[in-house]
Protein backbone atom coordinates (compact mmCIF):
# COMPACT_ATOMS: atom_id res chain seq x y z
CA UNK A 1 0.00 0.00 0.00
CA UNK A 2 1.15 3.52 -0.73
CA UNK A 3 2.86 4.76 2.47
CA UNK A 4 1.36 8.21 1.97
CA UNK A 5 -2.16 6.87 1.54
CA UNK A 6 -4.45 8.41 4.16
CA UNK A 7 -4.96 6.41 7.37
CA UNK A 8 -8.32 7.98 7.87
CA UNK A 9 -10.25 9.67 5.13
CA UNK A 10 -13.69 11.18 4.94
CA UNK A 11 -15.29 12.34 1.73
CA UNK A 12 -18.32 14.48 1.09
CA UNK A 13 -19.54 14.43 4.69
CA UNK A 14 -23.04 15.80 5.10
CA UNK A 15 -24.91 15.88 8.38
CA UNK A 16 -28.27 17.45 9.03
CA UNK A 17 -30.13 17.94 12.26
CA UNK A 18 -33.82 18.63 12.46
CA UNK A 19 -34.78 21.09 15.16
CA UNK A 20 -37.67 23.35 16.05
CA UNK A 21 -36.54 25.91 13.52
CA UNK A 22 -36.27 23.41 10.70
CA UNK A 23 -33.31 21.66 9.18
CA UNK A 24 -29.82 22.60 10.14
CA UNK A 25 -27.01 21.48 7.91
CA UNK A 26 -24.14 20.97 10.38
CA UNK A 27 -21.80 19.62 7.70
CA UNK A 28 -22.12 20.36 4.04
CA UNK A 29 -19.73 18.36 1.88
CA UNK A 30 -16.60 18.20 4.02
CA UNK A 31 -13.50 16.23 3.01
CA UNK A 32 -10.87 15.21 5.54
CA UNK A 33 -7.71 13.22 4.85
CA UNK A 34 -5.22 12.20 7.51
CA UNK A 35 -1.86 11.12 6.10
CA UNK A 36 0.61 9.13 8.21
CA UNK A 37 2.85 11.40 10.29
CA UNK A 38 1.12 14.58 9.13
CA UNK A 39 -0.74 16.11 12.03
CA UNK A 40 -4.03 17.60 10.95
CA UNK A 41 -5.71 20.58 12.58
CA UNK A 42 -9.43 21.14 12.23
CA UNK A 43 -10.12 24.75 13.09
CA UNK A 44 -13.38 26.57 13.49
CA UNK A 45 -15.57 28.63 15.78
CA UNK A 46 -18.89 27.73 17.39
CA UNK A 47 -21.29 26.21 14.91
CA UNK A 48 -18.55 25.39 12.41
CA UNK A 49 -19.23 21.67 12.67
CA UNK A 50 -16.13 20.64 14.63
CA UNK A 51 -17.98 18.44 17.12
CA UNK A 52 -19.98 16.77 14.37
CA UNK A 53 -16.82 15.92 12.41
CA UNK A 54 -15.20 14.69 15.60
CA UNK A 55 -18.11 12.35 16.35
CA UNK A 56 -18.13 11.04 12.79
CA UNK A 57 -14.36 10.45 12.77
CA UNK A 58 -14.70 8.57 16.05
CA UNK A 59 -17.43 6.39 14.59
CA UNK A 60 -19.90 7.62 17.23
CA UNK A 61 -22.20 9.26 14.72
CA UNK A 62 -23.02 8.30 11.15
CA UNK A 63 -22.93 10.96 8.46
CA UNK A 64 -26.11 11.60 6.49
CA UNK A 65 -24.08 11.29 3.31
CA UNK A 66 -20.44 10.72 2.47
CA UNK A 67 -17.98 8.00 3.30
CA UNK A 68 -15.29 7.28 5.85
CA UNK A 69 -12.36 5.10 4.89
CA UNK A 70 -10.08 3.64 7.51
CA UNK A 71 -6.87 2.20 6.05
CA UNK A 72 -8.49 2.03 2.65
CA UNK A 73 -11.60 0.19 3.82
CA UNK A 74 -15.02 1.73 4.21
CA UNK A 75 -15.75 2.05 7.91
CA UNK A 76 -18.87 0.19 8.91
CA UNK A 77 -19.93 1.15 12.43
CA UNK A 78 -22.11 -1.98 12.58
CA UNK A 79 -19.18 -4.33 12.09
CA UNK A 80 -17.94 -5.22 15.57
CA UNK A 81 -14.73 -6.73 14.24
CA UNK A 82 -13.82 -3.67 12.22
CA UNK A 83 -14.85 -1.28 15.00
CA UNK A 84 -12.70 -3.17 17.53
CA UNK A 85 -9.67 -2.70 15.27
CA UNK A 86 -10.66 0.90 14.67
CA UNK A 87 -10.91 1.65 18.41
CA UNK A 88 -7.48 0.16 18.93
CA UNK A 89 -5.98 2.39 16.28
CA UNK A 90 -7.91 5.60 16.83
CA UNK A 91 -8.08 7.02 20.33
CA UNK A 92 -9.30 10.31 21.69
CA UNK A 93 -8.51 12.89 24.37
CA UNK A 94 -11.14 15.44 25.37
CA UNK A 95 -11.01 19.02 26.58
CA UNK A 96 -11.91 18.38 30.16
CA UNK A 97 -10.22 15.41 31.84
CA UNK A 98 -12.40 16.12 34.87
CA UNK A 99 -15.38 14.66 33.07
CA UNK A 100 -13.61 12.08 30.91
CA UNK A 101 -11.97 10.20 33.80
CA UNK A 102 -14.20 8.20 36.15
CA UNK A 103 -13.71 9.86 39.56
CA UNK A 104 -14.37 6.60 41.44
CA UNK A 105 -11.84 4.58 39.47
CA UNK A 106 -8.18 4.49 40.45
CA UNK A 107 -5.94 6.08 37.85
CA UNK A 108 -4.23 2.78 37.04
CA UNK A 109 -7.57 1.07 36.46
CA UNK A 110 -8.66 3.94 34.18
CA UNK A 111 -5.50 3.70 32.11
CA UNK A 112 -5.84 -0.10 31.76
CA UNK A 113 -9.54 0.20 30.86
CA UNK A 114 -9.07 0.36 27.06
CA UNK A 115 -6.74 -2.66 27.29
CA UNK A 116 -9.49 -4.65 28.97
CA UNK A 117 -12.32 -3.51 26.74
CA UNK A 118 -10.26 -4.11 23.60
CA UNK A 119 -9.13 -7.52 24.96
CA UNK A 120 -5.45 -6.67 24.66
CA UNK A 121 -3.40 -9.18 26.64
CA UNK A 122 -0.14 -8.86 28.56
CA UNK A 123 0.88 -7.48 31.94
CA UNK A 124 -1.52 -4.56 32.35
CA UNK A 125 0.07 -3.25 35.57
CA UNK A 126 3.49 -3.06 33.90
CA UNK A 127 1.93 -1.40 30.87
CA UNK A 128 0.25 1.20 33.09
CA UNK A 129 3.64 2.02 34.64
CA UNK A 130 5.20 2.41 31.19
CA UNK A 131 2.37 4.70 30.09
CA UNK A 132 2.64 6.85 33.23
CA UNK A 133 6.38 7.23 32.65
CA UNK A 134 5.71 8.16 29.02
CA UNK A 135 3.52 11.08 30.10
CA UNK A 136 5.94 12.15 32.83
CA UNK A 137 4.07 10.83 35.88
CA UNK A 138 5.32 8.70 38.75
CA UNK A 139 4.11 5.09 38.87
CA UNK A 140 2.67 5.71 42.37
CA UNK A 141 -0.03 7.76 40.64
CA UNK A 142 -1.70 4.49 39.55
CA UNK A 143 -3.21 3.79 42.95
CA UNK A 144 -4.67 7.26 43.46
CA UNK A 145 -7.93 8.87 42.27
CA UNK A 146 -8.34 11.52 39.53
CA UNK A 147 -9.72 14.06 42.04
CA UNK A 148 -6.32 14.25 43.72
CA UNK A 149 -4.71 15.76 40.64
CA UNK A 150 -4.55 19.16 38.95
CA UNK A 151 -6.05 19.79 35.51
CA UNK A 152 -2.69 19.39 33.78
CA UNK A 153 -1.92 16.11 35.58
CA UNK A 154 -5.39 14.79 34.76
CA UNK A 155 -4.83 15.61 31.10
CA UNK A 156 -1.56 13.63 31.27
CA UNK A 157 -3.52 10.71 32.75
CA UNK A 158 -6.12 10.97 29.98
CA UNK A 159 -3.34 10.95 27.37
CA UNK A 160 -1.75 7.89 29.03
CA UNK A 161 -5.09 6.09 28.83
CA UNK A 162 -5.65 7.03 25.21
CA UNK A 163 -2.18 5.85 24.23
CA UNK A 164 -2.33 2.60 26.24
CA UNK A 165 -3.59 0.48 23.30
CA UNK A 166 -0.76 1.99 21.13
CA UNK A 167 -3.04 3.69 18.62
CA UNK A 168 -1.78 5.10 15.33
CA UNK A 169 -4.09 8.08 15.51
CA UNK A 170 -4.82 10.32 18.47
CA UNK A 171 -7.76 12.67 18.09
CA UNK A 172 -7.49 15.56 20.54
CA UNK A 173 -10.54 17.74 21.09
CA UNK A 174 -9.43 21.11 22.51
CA UNK A 175 -6.88 19.29 24.68
CA UNK A 176 -5.45 22.40 26.36
CA UNK A 177 -8.34 24.88 26.29
CA UNK A 178 -9.34 24.22 29.90
CA UNK A 179 -5.78 24.49 31.22
CA UNK A 180 -3.74 27.37 32.64
CA UNK A 181 -1.30 28.93 30.19
CA UNK A 182 1.81 27.60 31.93
CA UNK A 183 0.40 24.07 31.91
CA UNK A 184 -0.77 24.42 28.32
CA UNK A 185 2.80 24.75 27.03
CA UNK A 186 3.83 21.59 28.92
CA UNK A 187 0.96 19.51 27.51
CA UNK A 188 1.69 20.73 23.98
CA UNK A 189 5.35 19.77 24.43
CA UNK A 190 4.26 16.36 25.69
CA UNK A 191 1.97 15.77 22.69
CA UNK A 192 4.79 16.80 20.36
CA UNK A 193 7.31 14.42 21.88
CA UNK A 194 4.83 11.53 22.11
CA UNK A 195 4.04 12.02 18.46
CA UNK A 196 7.71 11.63 17.56
CA UNK A 197 8.45 8.72 19.92
CA UNK A 198 5.38 6.66 19.19
CA UNK A 199 4.88 7.34 15.50
CA UNK A 200 1.48 8.84 16.19
CA UNK A 201 -0.52 11.02 13.90
CA UNK A 202 -2.65 13.68 15.56
CA UNK A 203 -5.96 15.19 14.63
CA UNK A 204 -6.36 18.33 16.67
CA UNK A 205 -9.82 19.85 16.78
CA UNK A 206 -9.63 23.37 18.15
CA UNK A 207 -10.78 26.94 17.96
CA UNK A 208 -7.27 28.02 18.86
CA UNK A 209 -5.14 28.75 15.81
CA UNK A 210 -1.99 29.27 17.85
CA UNK A 211 -2.23 25.78 19.32
CA UNK A 212 -3.06 24.22 15.96
CA UNK A 213 -0.24 26.15 14.30
CA UNK A 214 2.20 24.75 16.76
CA UNK A 215 1.30 21.07 16.48
CA UNK A 216 -0.10 20.55 13.00
CA UNK A 217 1.35 20.13 9.54
CA UNK A 218 -1.94 20.61 7.74
CA UNK A 219 -5.01 22.64 8.55
CA UNK A 220 -8.66 22.62 7.57
CA UNK A 221 -10.57 25.81 8.32
CA UNK A 222 -14.27 25.20 8.83
CA UNK A 223 -17.09 27.67 8.89
CA UNK A 224 -20.79 26.87 9.12
CA UNK A 225 -20.25 23.27 8.03
CA UNK A 226 -18.07 24.01 5.00
CA UNK A 227 -14.33 23.96 4.45
CA UNK A 228 -13.35 27.53 3.62
CA UNK A 229 -9.67 26.76 3.26
CA UNK A 230 -7.30 23.84 3.63
CA UNK A 231 -3.60 23.34 3.10
CA UNK A 232 -0.25 23.21 4.80
CA UNK A 233 0.07 25.14 8.06
CA UNK A 234 2.87 27.17 6.56
CA UNK A 235 0.78 28.21 3.56
CA UNK A 236 -2.26 29.04 5.63
CA UNK A 237 -0.29 31.17 8.07
CA UNK A 238 1.89 32.89 5.51
CA UNK A 239 -0.66 33.48 2.77
CA UNK A 240 -4.23 32.76 3.85
CA UNK A 241 -6.50 32.91 0.81
CA UNK A 242 -9.88 33.08 2.46
CA UNK A 243 -10.98 36.38 4.05
CA UNK A 244 -12.42 34.36 6.92
CA UNK A 245 -9.06 32.70 7.63
CA UNK A 246 -7.44 36.12 7.63
CA UNK A 247 -10.03 37.39 10.08
CA UNK A 248 -9.44 34.39 12.32
CA UNK A 249 -5.69 34.96 12.25
CA UNK A 250 -6.06 38.67 12.88
CA UNK A 251 -8.26 37.97 15.90
CA UNK A 252 -5.70 35.84 17.73
CA UNK A 253 -4.52 37.94 20.67
CA UNK A 254 -0.75 38.14 20.74
CA UNK A 255 1.78 39.73 23.01
CA UNK A 256 3.58 42.77 21.72
CA UNK A 257 6.97 41.75 20.31
CA UNK A 258 9.98 41.87 22.60
CA UNK A 259 11.04 45.43 23.36
CA UNK A 260 8.01 46.86 21.62
CA UNK A 261 7.24 50.21 23.20
CA UNK A 262 3.77 51.60 23.79
Amino acid sequence: MNPDAPILEAKGLVKEFVGRRGRLRALDGVDVALRPGKNLGIVGESGAGKSTILNILLGIEMPGAGSIMFRGEALDTRSRLQMARFRREVQVVFQDPKTSLDPRMRVGTSIAEPLRSLKIGGDHAAHVRTMLAAVGLDSAVASRYPGEFSGGQRQRIAIARALAPSPQVLIADEPVSALDVSVRAQILDLLESLKRQRGLTLILVSHDLAVVGRLCDEIIVLRAGRVVESGSTRAIFSSPRSPYTRRLLDSVPTLPAHNEEE
Binding site: V181, S182, H207, G213, L249, V252, L255, E261
Partner: protein, 269 residues
Protein backbone atom coordinates in the same frame (compact mmCIF):
# COMPACT_ATOMS: atom_id res chain seq x y z
CA UNK B 1 -9.74 60.34 46.46
CA UNK B 2 -9.24 57.22 44.43
CA UNK B 3 -12.33 55.66 42.86
CA UNK B 4 -11.31 52.22 44.07
CA UNK B 5 -9.00 51.80 47.01
CA UNK B 6 -8.05 48.38 48.35
CA UNK B 7 -5.83 48.18 51.39
CA UNK B 8 -4.40 45.07 52.92
CA UNK B 9 -7.28 42.92 51.73
CA UNK B 10 -7.33 39.38 53.10
CA UNK B 11 -9.92 36.70 52.38
CA UNK B 12 -10.30 33.43 54.27
CA UNK B 13 -12.43 30.35 54.12
CA UNK B 14 -14.18 30.05 57.46
CA UNK B 15 -14.71 26.38 57.98
CA UNK B 16 -12.06 25.00 58.18
CA UNK B 17 -10.18 28.26 58.28
CA UNK B 18 -7.87 28.71 55.32
CA UNK B 19 -6.29 31.90 54.03
CA UNK B 20 -7.05 32.45 50.35
CA UNK B 21 -5.80 35.98 49.89
CA UNK B 22 -3.42 38.12 51.90
CA UNK B 23 -1.94 41.60 51.95
CA UNK B 24 -3.56 42.71 48.68
CA UNK B 25 -3.41 46.46 48.12
CA UNK B 26 -4.06 48.43 44.95
CA UNK B 27 -6.02 51.40 43.74
CA UNK B 28 -7.64 52.70 40.61
CA UNK B 29 -8.32 56.32 39.71
CA UNK B 30 -11.42 57.60 37.89
CA UNK B 31 -11.25 56.66 34.22
CA UNK B 32 -8.16 54.51 34.84
CA UNK B 33 -7.52 50.96 33.68
CA UNK B 34 -5.96 48.18 35.64
CA UNK B 35 -5.35 44.57 34.73
CA UNK B 36 -5.29 41.75 37.26
CA UNK B 37 -3.65 38.62 35.92
CA UNK B 38 -3.44 35.21 37.53
CA UNK B 39 -3.95 31.52 36.85
CA UNK B 40 -6.65 29.31 38.33
CA UNK B 41 -6.59 29.33 42.11
CA UNK B 42 -4.60 32.58 42.29
CA UNK B 43 -7.46 34.41 43.99
CA UNK B 44 -8.26 36.85 41.19
CA UNK B 45 -11.96 36.05 40.95
CA UNK B 46 -12.63 36.18 44.70
CA UNK B 47 -10.83 39.52 44.73
CA UNK B 48 -13.34 40.72 42.13
CA UNK B 49 -16.33 39.37 44.07
CA UNK B 50 -15.11 40.92 47.33
CA UNK B 51 -15.01 44.38 45.74
CA UNK B 52 -18.80 44.39 45.43
CA UNK B 53 -19.43 42.47 48.64
CA UNK B 54 -20.41 39.37 46.66
CA UNK B 55 -18.31 36.75 48.46
CA UNK B 56 -20.11 33.53 49.38
CA UNK B 57 -21.08 33.17 53.03
CA UNK B 58 -18.34 30.60 53.56
CA UNK B 59 -15.67 33.31 53.11
CA UNK B 60 -14.76 36.41 55.07
CA UNK B 61 -12.89 39.50 53.92
CA UNK B 62 -10.84 41.80 56.11
CA UNK B 63 -8.86 44.93 55.37
CA UNK B 64 -10.31 47.95 53.64
CA UNK B 65 -12.12 48.34 50.31
CA UNK B 66 -13.64 51.69 49.36
CA UNK B 67 -15.45 52.59 46.16
CA UNK B 68 -15.85 56.35 45.72
CA UNK B 69 -15.14 56.70 49.43
CA UNK B 70 -17.82 54.23 50.50
CA UNK B 71 -16.73 51.26 52.60
CA UNK B 72 -17.52 47.82 51.22
CA UNK B 73 -16.30 45.52 53.99
CA UNK B 74 -18.68 45.59 56.91
CA UNK B 75 -21.45 47.42 55.01
CA UNK B 76 -25.03 46.26 55.17
CA UNK B 77 -26.72 44.65 52.19
CA UNK B 78 -28.69 47.90 51.70
CA UNK B 79 -25.54 50.00 51.55
CA UNK B 80 -23.99 47.50 49.15
CA UNK B 81 -27.01 47.66 46.85
CA UNK B 82 -26.40 51.40 46.60
CA UNK B 83 -22.84 50.75 45.41
CA UNK B 84 -23.65 47.95 43.01
CA UNK B 85 -24.78 49.25 39.67
CA UNK B 86 -24.65 52.96 40.45
CA UNK B 87 -20.97 53.01 41.40
CA UNK B 88 -19.64 49.75 40.07
CA UNK B 89 -20.91 47.08 37.70
CA UNK B 90 -19.49 43.69 36.94
CA UNK B 91 -19.46 41.45 33.89
CA UNK B 92 -18.54 37.79 34.07
CA UNK B 93 -17.04 35.10 31.85
CA UNK B 94 -20.44 33.54 31.39
CA UNK B 95 -23.04 36.29 31.07
CA UNK B 96 -25.79 33.69 31.47
CA UNK B 97 -24.89 33.51 35.15
CA UNK B 98 -25.67 37.22 35.53
CA UNK B 99 -28.88 37.17 33.47
CA UNK B 100 -32.25 35.88 34.58
CA UNK B 101 -33.05 32.93 32.28
CA UNK B 102 -36.82 33.48 32.61
CA UNK B 103 -36.92 37.19 31.83
CA UNK B 104 -36.79 38.77 28.39
CA UNK B 105 -33.54 40.59 27.79
CA UNK B 106 -35.15 43.99 27.23
CA UNK B 107 -36.84 43.98 30.62
CA UNK B 108 -33.57 43.01 32.27
CA UNK B 109 -31.72 45.93 30.71
CA UNK B 110 -34.62 48.21 31.66
CA UNK B 111 -34.50 47.10 35.31
CA UNK B 112 -31.61 49.31 36.43
CA UNK B 113 -32.94 52.18 34.29
CA UNK B 114 -36.10 52.17 36.40
CA UNK B 115 -34.08 51.95 39.57
CA UNK B 116 -31.38 54.49 38.82
CA UNK B 117 -32.98 56.88 36.34
CA UNK B 118 -36.67 56.52 37.20
CA UNK B 119 -37.51 55.61 33.59
CA UNK B 120 -40.49 53.46 32.72
CA UNK B 121 -42.73 52.43 29.83
CA UNK B 122 -41.90 53.85 26.42
CA UNK B 123 -39.07 56.01 27.76
CA UNK B 124 -37.34 52.98 29.29
CA UNK B 125 -37.81 51.05 26.06
CA UNK B 126 -36.29 53.88 24.01
CA UNK B 127 -33.34 54.01 26.39
CA UNK B 128 -32.86 50.23 26.11
CA UNK B 129 -32.78 50.55 22.32
CA UNK B 130 -30.18 53.26 22.56
CA UNK B 131 -28.09 51.10 24.91
CA UNK B 132 -28.35 48.21 22.43
CA UNK B 133 -27.04 50.59 19.78
CA UNK B 134 -24.08 51.52 21.92
CA UNK B 135 -23.10 47.85 22.29
CA UNK B 136 -23.64 47.33 18.53
CA UNK B 137 -26.70 45.15 18.72
CA UNK B 138 -28.75 46.47 15.84
CA UNK B 139 -31.63 44.01 15.77
CA UNK B 140 -33.42 45.91 18.58
CA UNK B 141 -36.88 44.33 18.56
CA UNK B 142 -35.63 40.78 18.36
CA UNK B 143 -32.97 41.19 21.06
CA UNK B 144 -35.40 43.07 23.31
CA UNK B 145 -37.89 40.21 23.16
CA UNK B 146 -35.38 37.37 23.40
CA UNK B 147 -34.63 35.20 26.38
CA UNK B 148 -30.92 34.97 27.24
CA UNK B 149 -30.55 31.40 25.95
CA UNK B 150 -31.78 32.49 22.51
CA UNK B 151 -28.76 34.74 22.06
CA UNK B 152 -25.19 33.82 21.13
CA UNK B 153 -22.35 34.12 23.66
CA UNK B 154 -21.15 37.36 22.10
CA UNK B 155 -24.65 38.86 22.06
CA UNK B 156 -25.15 37.92 25.70
CA UNK B 157 -21.89 39.60 26.70
CA UNK B 158 -23.01 42.72 24.80
CA UNK B 159 -26.31 42.62 26.70
CA UNK B 160 -24.39 42.40 30.00
CA UNK B 161 -22.34 45.40 28.88
CA UNK B 162 -25.53 47.30 27.99
CA UNK B 163 -26.82 46.68 31.52
CA UNK B 164 -23.58 48.04 32.98
CA UNK B 165 -23.85 51.11 30.74
CA UNK B 166 -27.47 51.60 31.81
CA UNK B 167 -26.34 51.86 35.42
CA UNK B 168 -23.94 54.65 34.45
CA UNK B 169 -21.41 52.99 36.72
CA UNK B 170 -18.10 54.70 37.31
CA UNK B 171 -16.26 51.39 37.62
CA UNK B 172 -16.56 48.32 35.45
CA UNK B 173 -15.15 45.09 36.82
CA UNK B 174 -14.73 42.56 34.03
CA UNK B 175 -13.85 39.02 35.10
CA UNK B 176 -12.64 37.00 32.08
CA UNK B 177 -15.29 38.68 29.90
CA UNK B 178 -14.03 37.24 26.62
CA UNK B 179 -12.58 33.88 27.67
CA UNK B 180 -15.62 31.82 26.68
CA UNK B 181 -16.08 33.52 23.32
CA UNK B 182 -14.99 32.51 19.83
CA UNK B 183 -11.79 34.19 18.78
CA UNK B 184 -13.33 36.58 16.22
CA UNK B 185 -16.10 37.47 18.67
CA UNK B 186 -13.53 37.94 21.40
CA UNK B 187 -11.70 40.46 19.24
CA UNK B 188 -14.95 42.36 18.58
CA UNK B 189 -16.04 42.42 22.23
CA UNK B 190 -12.57 43.52 23.34
CA UNK B 191 -12.49 46.46 20.98
CA UNK B 192 -16.06 47.38 21.93
CA UNK B 193 -15.11 47.28 25.61
CA UNK B 194 -12.02 49.35 24.92
CA UNK B 195 -14.05 51.95 23.04
CA UNK B 196 -16.93 52.13 25.56
CA UNK B 197 -14.69 52.46 28.59
CA UNK B 198 -13.01 55.42 26.90
CA UNK B 199 -16.16 57.10 25.62
CA UNK B 200 -18.07 56.68 28.90
CA UNK B 201 -15.08 57.62 31.04
CA UNK B 202 -15.50 54.44 33.08
CA UNK B 203 -12.67 52.99 35.11
CA UNK B 204 -11.90 49.38 34.21
CA UNK B 205 -10.59 46.52 36.30
CA UNK B 206 -9.92 43.71 33.83
CA UNK B 207 -9.31 40.27 35.31
CA UNK B 208 -7.97 37.39 33.25
CA UNK B 209 -5.49 34.57 32.95
CA UNK B 210 -4.71 35.70 29.41
CA UNK B 211 -1.64 37.94 29.11
CA UNK B 212 -2.00 38.67 25.39
CA UNK B 213 -5.58 39.85 25.91
CA UNK B 214 -4.78 42.02 28.91
CA UNK B 215 -1.67 43.49 27.35
CA UNK B 216 -3.87 45.08 24.69
CA UNK B 217 -6.37 46.69 27.00
CA UNK B 218 -4.67 47.95 30.17
CA UNK B 219 -1.62 50.08 30.81
CA UNK B 220 -1.09 48.91 34.36
CA UNK B 221 -0.94 45.32 35.63
CA UNK B 222 -1.07 43.39 38.87
CA UNK B 223 0.21 39.83 38.84
CA UNK B 224 -1.40 37.54 41.38
CA UNK B 225 -0.15 34.16 42.55
CA UNK B 226 -1.44 32.09 45.47
CA UNK B 227 -3.47 34.94 46.90
CA UNK B 228 -0.74 37.57 46.81
CA UNK B 229 0.27 40.26 44.41
CA UNK B 230 3.76 39.28 43.32
CA UNK B 231 4.36 42.08 40.87
CA UNK B 232 2.78 45.34 39.76
CA UNK B 233 3.75 48.04 37.32
CA UNK B 234 3.07 49.34 33.85
CA UNK B 235 2.08 46.73 31.27
CA UNK B 236 4.96 47.75 29.01
CA UNK B 237 7.53 47.40 31.77
CA UNK B 238 6.20 44.04 32.98
CA UNK B 239 6.11 42.61 29.47
CA UNK B 240 9.58 43.82 28.56
CA UNK B 241 11.35 43.08 31.86
CA UNK B 242 9.33 41.11 34.41
CA UNK B 243 10.85 41.37 37.88
CA UNK B 244 9.29 38.30 39.51
CA UNK B 245 10.20 34.78 38.33
CA UNK B 246 6.51 33.80 38.30
CA UNK B 247 5.70 36.65 35.92
CA UNK B 248 8.68 35.74 33.75
CA UNK B 249 7.41 32.14 33.58
CA UNK B 250 3.88 33.23 32.68
CA UNK B 251 5.21 35.47 29.96
CA UNK B 252 7.45 32.77 28.56
CA UNK B 253 4.54 30.29 28.46
CA UNK B 254 2.29 32.86 26.81
CA UNK B 255 4.89 33.62 24.17
CA UNK B 256 5.34 29.94 23.41
CA UNK B 257 1.65 29.13 23.30
CA UNK B 258 0.58 32.14 21.26
CA UNK B 259 3.49 32.31 18.86
CA UNK B 260 1.50 32.13 15.65
CA UNK B 261 3.86 32.03 12.68
CA UNK B 262 1.80 34.68 10.99
CA UNK B 263 2.42 38.24 9.95
CA UNK B 264 -0.63 40.42 10.43
CA UNK B 265 -2.08 41.49 7.15
CA UNK B 266 -0.48 38.54 5.30
CA UNK B 267 -2.25 37.62 2.11
CA UNK B 268 -4.04 40.94 1.83
CA UNK B 269 -3.50 42.55 -1.51
Amino acid sequence: MKLLDVENLAISFLNPERVLLQGVSFDLERGGRLGLIGESGSGKSITALSLLGLLPESMRASGRITIAGVNVIGSSERELTAIRGARAAMIFQEPLSALDPLMRVGRQIAGPLRLHQGLSGAAARREVFSLLDRVRLSDHERIYNSFPHELSGGQRQRVALAMALGCESELLIADEPTTALDVTVQAEVLSLLDELVTSEGMALLFITHDLPVISRITRRLLVMQDGRIVESGTTAKILSSPAHPYTAGLLESARRVTAVPYVRGAGTQ
